[in-house]
Amino acid sequence: MIWALILIPFSASLLSLLIRDDKLRRGLLVGSAICHSIIMALSWAQTFIPILGGFFAVDLIAQLFLSIASILFLMTSFYAVGYLKTEKHENKKDFLENRLFNNAPEAVFTACLLMFLAMMTMVVTSQHFGILWVTMEATTLVTAPLIYFHRHHRSLEATWKYLLICSVGIAVSLLGNFFLAIAASSHNGVSIPLMRGELIARGSELWTPWVKVAFIFFLVGYGTKMGLAPLHTWLPDAHSEAPSLVSALLSGALLNCAFVGILRAFEVTAAAGQLVFAQDLLVLFGLVSMLFAAVFIIGQAEYKRMLAYSSVEHMGILALGVGLGGSAVYGSMFHAINHSLTKTALFLIAGNILAIYKTKIAADVRGMLSSIPASGIFWMAGILAITGFPPFGIFLSEFMILRAGIQQGRYFIAAVYLILLAIIFIGISAIALRMAQGRNTRPLDVKVERRSSIMPSAILIFTTLVLGIYIPPHLNNALHVIANLLGGN
């Protein structure tokens, strides 16, 4: 089954380069997304047999994060069909500067999307640190053409920054791999292979100073890709310039994949008896990320950049949750689900806004509720959800992390966390709610709002709303087991 998970999108990607007919190719995109999701759904009913001698396996962390990625990809692929219909491969006017530009060929775009799914599947399921690295770098390379879909100079600048910063970041984590290899080499010449399971089982035999250094390098390297401040500099640019469905996937799925990389390193570090060291680093990075996000969200002019900084914030919360330990780890894992669902929904809606209002400046968008009611309503709902308004899922998970902080008596961290959340809440709602209300004065190019551009967001926001009220027992158990693995409860 793992073979199918990897090979379906992989071969569909290659096929889509050969297919000339646009409709057929879009069908292939949606079809493979559906297959992937169905197989992922099956993984909750039965355990998949590891392949390639255990190099790839669906453990619980993989199952959780791959399920998220799979659902998001499915929703985004529905959205993509409608999007690609309107985005033709022809010269278009750039509404910002009135210059002409064209789009990348649709076949390349689809192929990269599908390859991205294949690579994410490999990142998350890989049990060997080397393979994790190779596939993580591969996700950077296949997403770069996606960011450069609109071929103008701003997206090119974003792509260049993304390529260079993430490649260097990931090169740093390769060094982390080597340090881990040193830590795993034992005195009598026989060393432990860099397989996650074995490293954890024989954690006490690892060389602790080298494990510490390795964790720092993993955190910095994969943290660059995950968007932890101050290594996040590529993120707002890439998210604001990429087509919205790509931003949605980057935020909802790719950042999580990098987080999985950090979690793998975290598990091993904890097994080597350095749990507190790793936790403290994560808390530090988490709070710094939230701080950076808060500073840049206040008064942010562009709504897509605002969403991008909100991703920095939420990645910070994920790191903070794992760093606090205890019941916060459960909260953090739950938060990963909620954030992905909500942020993807918001980016897809942001794509609708961009298509209709033809501006990225938040101040120029007014009266969405009256001019594009469907998008307007889900934009409002999404904004409330992302800022942690009850009864959405994010409220619950943010509250769990706060409660854990207070229970542990770490009042300072809890206070900083709460203050930053409040600042970001004010910053985002001031910008985004004004977009929904008021009266629009711009000439709009409103045709009927397409169902394919609304439904994905509607489903995602509804899901996170349900999760805020009711957590299925199956998911609850899985989250508890994962939390136990990561030094929490």
Binding site: H128, G130, I131, W133, V134, T135, E137, A138, T140, L141, A144, P145, Y148, R151, H152, H153, R154, L156, E157, A158, T159, W160, K161, L163, L164, S167, V168, A171, L174, L175, F178, A181, I182, S185, S186, H187, G189, S191, P193, L194, W207, P209, W210, P236, D237, S240, E241, F296, Q300, R305
Partner: protein
Amino acid sequence: MWTDIVMVLLILTNMVVLGTSRLRACIRIVATQGVALGVLPLLIHSIETHILIFSIISIILKGVVFPYMLLRTLRQLNVWREDDPYVGYGMSLLAGPITLAFSYWVSTRLPMPFSIHSPMLIPVAFFTLIVGLFLIVSRKKALTQVLGYLVLENGIYAFGMAIANQQPMLIELGTLLDVFVGVFVMGIAIFHISRQFDHIDTDQLSALRD
């Protein structure tokens, strides 16, 4: 003995790359460095088939394919020199020996759990790595930044050689493939940058900011 010669070659290529403004020369020097590194596994480990195959592939990639791709980009762009880097060539050359000394100092502070084939390997690997990072941040031309990335990758590769080589070959090949695709994609990006902006100075890529 041969390992030490390769190490000296690495130090020299790093120094030259720091002090050269002509891009064509830079590409050739980095290629030389890549070939020297490609030979390294054969010198360190016993010669076995899979190590031989790996060496040959990495020599072909780093010594032939990368310089070919980069030189082709260079011809298309008609850019030949890095005229005005953020850090001048005099300062860059001065930074070289300082970094080298620093790398030696760092490597004396790292306790290795096993014996290393050559005492120069670790410091030289660190040196190469830092030079790569230095090139990325101190040069303006996109092409030189890619060269910096390659030097950085070379440094990490040398480090990987230094520690007991226990990774499966599949992963080594995967790493090489990633670097290859990376350089390929960056090459395409550079080409587009030159078409959009009529130059490849990355300090002009400044439309996006907060």
